[in-house]
Symmetry: D2
């Protein structure tokens, strides 16, 4: 169990659980602990985490604002593919893990640590996402996953350990949370305990980042999003950096009851689980990006992307961001986005994202060709006959030898 470890970089939130882990690492491994706390837009202050770490005698404390990196280098590339896991999930948790792991490994290299540790449990996907990323970036690193190792297997034992080691316990942490939450600039997820029965709807208290469609205003909000090369760059004409832009979309989405998802999904570790996701800005962004592509992307380029999207989503969900196959797919996807530039107008109304217009200097939509009116020779209807005849040829040859209607 207790491998020989000298210095470990811990992904540290400052909360009770990772504080227990911090102390547990110190006592069990007898090693120096370096803490790393990241701002990914989860909406919590980070300074308390620093102070707590100091209190535990941690000498090297890293607190980093990674919000722009997160959105620019992880969220936006993922949205270029219109990525949805199992047709619905915008991968808000999955896409944050590789960045945390990446920075953790950078810190490990910087401070000469031989190990990294995280607070994910042994039943979830996050352990896989963290650890695959660690190993891909630093193959000889020692990984410590306390939840798979220790004997603090109940809340009672955890609290006892905390008390024994002078770890402050907030009053509201005495009892168990009725469900567990993960949050960052892209989304907020809730799962476990009171949410475990998929036959029951979530209680309204579960939602943290959106008001309900019912509570949203009776008047729609109209917005315009500008894209350059597949990524959003401005809202209502105002240029915004990646994190600021996503934050603005979150605000707009929240206010209009947009982005709730109640999902039963399939975990990489083999079981089904149920999650409640709130992705207000991401839901708007997906609709906007799809519509931007609808006039700027070639048909076969789009269909090729669509056919590979499920695989790409699966890779991110399963934790393979830092893999050759994800990089290869990204190269394919990115190649398609050069001309995905222009403006999409949307109406946000009580949970709905309704497109009201798309325009682009690179538009492939050609009114002359498509029109029901006279087109001045832009399209020769006679060509359609040859097109159909040759597309039908193999079906006719098949039918002629008795395989009617495409019977194989």
């Amino acid at each position: 169990m207790a491998k020989d470890v000298k210095k470990v970089v811990l992904a540290y939130s400052g909360g009770l659980d990772t504080s227990v882990i911090l102390r547990w690492l110190q006592t069990t491994y007898g090693c120096e602990v370096v803490t790393f706390t990241a701002d990914l837009g989860q909406g919590e202050e980070l300074e308390p985490a620093r102070r707590k770490a100091e209190m535990f005698g941690v000498k090297q404390i890293f607190v980093d604002d990674l919000r722009d990196t997160f959105v620019r280098d992880f969220v936006f590339p993922m949205f270029r593919a219109n990525t949805l896991y199992e047709g619905q999930y915008l991968l808000g948790t999955s896409i944050a893990r590789p960045l945390i792991a990446q920075r953790q490994i950078e810190i490990a290299e910087e401070v000469g640590a031989d190990a990294v540790a995280h607070g994910a449990t042994g039943k979830g996907n996050d352990q896989v996402r963290f650890e695959l990323s660690y190993y891909a970036l630093k193959p000889d690193v020692t990984v410590i996953a306390p939840w798979r190792e220790w004997d603090l297997t109940s809340r009672t034992k955890l609290l006892a350990f905390a008390e024994e080691h002078q770890i402050p316990i907030a009053k509201d942490k005495r009892g168990e949370a009725p469900f567990s939450v993960d949050a960052n600039l892209l989304h907020s997820s809730s799962e476990g305990k009171i949410l475990e029965d998929p036959a029951l709807p979530p209680d309204e208290i579960v939602f943290q980042r959106t008001i309900s469609p019912e509570s949203a205003p009776d008047v729609a909000t109209e917005i315009a999003i500008d894209f350059v090369g597949g990524d959003p760059v401005a809202i209502n004409g105002e240029a915004l950096g990646p994190a600021a832009l996503l934050a603005k979309l979150n605000e707009l989405g929240r206010a209009n009851g947009i982005g709730r998802l109640d999902l039963v999904e399939n975990r990489f570790v083999g079981m089904k689980s149920r999650g409640i996701y709130e992705t207000p800005g991401g839901t708007i962004l997906l609709a906007a990006h799809r519509n931007m592509e609808s006039i700027t992307l070639d048909r076969e380029a789009g269909h090729l992307k669509d056919s590979l999207m499920p695989r790409y989503a699966e890779l991110i969900y399963n934790g393979f961001w830092f893999s050759p196959e994800r990089r290869m797919l990204q190269a394919l996807i990115d190649t398609s986005q050069n001309s995905v530039t222009g403006r999409v107008r949307l109406k946000l109304y009580k949970g709905n994202v309704i497109v009201t217009g798309r325009e682009s200097p690179h538009s492939l939509y050609d009114t002359r060709v498509v029109t029901f009116e006279e087109d001045g020779g832009a399209y020769d209807q006679v060509d359609a006959q040859g097109f159909i005849k040759l597309n039908a040829l193999r079906l006719r040859l098949g039918a002629a030898v008795g395989r009617k209607g495409g019977t194989p």
Copy 2:
């Protein structure tokens, strides 16, 4: 041009355009015309079509109610795949064409006709869908596509021909319609003319089958849908035949502002076009089916279906329903649906379809395994370490020879 044709079966709606075609076939080809009018739930009376055909001297007139066939043998199989063309379109027009063509060919065999004719234009997808189906079912059939052949290239010429041949012109058909409409039990589509600019939202008058989310009631409607083997069989506990069930869902969707789509899509014939689709019942059905699958379908079964869905959708959109590859994919899809049985509860509210529960006697969701609580040994967290280690092995070997982070 005027091939030698003795008897032609015309897909006849009774409207002005197909009435002109009817007469044009008689005069141009000098052949006998058999009319075929199908009820696919488009919501029009068919008897006027019969009377008009009689008026034109047609001797063999077929008027068929194909609604249950349509939903059972075409719509439901398509929904088993959660089919969306280009991520959004529920294929309401595409899925109706092969059935019309199939019945047309059956009639041709029955009455000994050597030709079939349709009223689709030379720029659209429907001509392809009709004709590929014709050829796949009767490879030696002669296909007449008047819109590609005749010189009635303007509204004025068409009306002149109608007048010259005593074809009655309804008053509201004198002027040109501001857009063109197709409808059946699954959807209503509108396109062309005033809808051609994708930068502008559709006018409210375009919508025929749904009220707007804004006009929908302030109180949600709660429903339950039962599935057996992948297909819906009952609403709120009431067993319904295929067509009745879809009609009921349409009613529920309409009343709650559900199922509008404003889309720029890529046609098989090569250009982009813009359509406004209303698929109230189908939108509800898709959400329900996905949720039913979420607890009953194996992960890899679902992912395999998801990865092939874009191809399957493309085949239907392009008109290849009667092809070996569509049949092969259908076999794969159908094989997965055995256990997709149970009940899904939904809340319909102002454009939103919100799942509120799913349950199934065949559920793969196992609370014992997934729970954050003690699971009594249902899942050994230690297994996760080996799982991660072996999944990481190739990434570590790569990183060890200098390919850090999955660099290929």
Copy 3:
């Protein structure tokens, strides 16, 4: 370690290693051992295995001839897909494992055993193939994998255990084999030890089932294979059962130096390994089946199969024969084979399999259409213009807005 086990069914070859396992199970688990020895055409006598098992006090001994089952229900279905793992490997070992596991589980049910055991090591794919099959067929079974559990980690320790427990050691088993072998009716594989360096060619002594191309006769052997519905049924006009047919092809292949493969492949457990495979009959069968399909299978049916073959091969290689996704793909593949009926003629010559003719009552090859000669109107060359024009339309629209040459 030593879980509570009452009765275990061991996949038993009668060789030294599985004999040690047999005894080790008896002594370590103190449980009753049932042996199961299968004839899959590996070319060894099975009666010695029975006698040895008796000697160890085994009361329930199963010795089954599974050759026809193996070829009919596993090998032939796989060949319907022209299956090659990583473009080259005919999966001879992979396809045998699920059948062994299936029979083992049947026996476990029959004799009321609560566990199964196999002799595969902890680094290979076979452990995965066995165990995934076990679990898929009997989810509560206890699996014992001695090579992952015991401390007989060296040859010396293994031999010491054997001596201590009166296990007879054949003289030629005293030293270590220079490489390890697996064999069945489809193939023979060799790997390990002297074969581990992929920079060196295998020594000629490695080959067991084929003579070298150099040693093969200077005169070609001509054969004809008949197919019905995708499976071979006769050689040179003589109808043969599945196993007899494959045995005959093996004989023909061996004599002509056909079917050797020197491969570095990627294991499911994460590392690369090197294997020498001999699949004489399978190599002939693949060539024959492909050629049979070439005149009987629709283009898109074939392309769809081709595009899914790598996934199907991966599933079999990784051990997922008994999985929903393999069954779904099989349904798709099988649907395509109805008309794959006819005769293929081949010439076998010094490692080459050369097709010399294919004919079929269901042939889609139509001389009238393809001919360079006058075709009497079977194909209208003018159709090609429309076909090209519409296929080019999107590329032209792209080029017209500055995306020349298909630049995205």
Copy 4:
């Protein structure tokens, strides 16, 4: 028919057929003809083509050596994907067409021509490949395809036209060739007439570029090929430019009876056709590249490429080299080839290409990990158990609710 054309660039071989086309263009269209003759390694002298063109009064004559461009920018990129159409065809003709078209369009821009013409027939794939490339590069170009337009529908009429227009007819061109040939540095293809019956083997006289396996030497030739970044750069240690390298491989293949293929394939225009292909160097190169990848490419990178290869091959075969989707796939493929560097050794013997060794500074093959011997902790066999258990979990959960053996 005779569109208004001022100046046309003709792909001109100097042979009888394209000479007739040259004159026919001059007389039918009354336009200036510019000839373009390319050396793609077809093995014919080009100066006679120049002289003939002069004889016909052509003022602008282009004769270009494109061999290195062909191999470097078209053949090698294609081989990076291990491309095979329908599992067998190395696409020798298909890959040459886009280059010819590209240069033709460049010349058209250069000389101010408004049209291009080619000598491909209306039944084949080449017309599609030429024209899709033309349109993708110059969307407003006029394309003239004489074989689809003129009335020289028989050999007699063609010869009569030639005589009438003083086109010299070589004696051996009086009669019709018994089959038609296309050749370039990658391959030689033969089809038509005496080759049309797929039930009969080709006569030995058909083969132009290879001796038969039977005629090849009794002693094998051993060679080594070096790769850098996925492309071959040297043979037997001698660095060679792209064209010289392929020419050398052709020589080696020819001498050893390597690279013959007798194929029934599916044309894009809808029918099956039969071709005899000789690709001696390409066959060696494919085997070498695959083996180079086998030790340098990550497993999932390789599987991803394999799964997309059929689509990539189809695009090239169908003529979509200059399309967004081909460029996207190329980006994915190229991204994977960085580390495909090293040496492969092969033995060429009577039609066989047998690998005898592979080595690379970037090898992912790790003897420590794979070995059957003690591995010093490089791989922990216990990890396999967790790996299997979690991979099995969904199958076990399925079986537990009655879906035994992966029944969906």
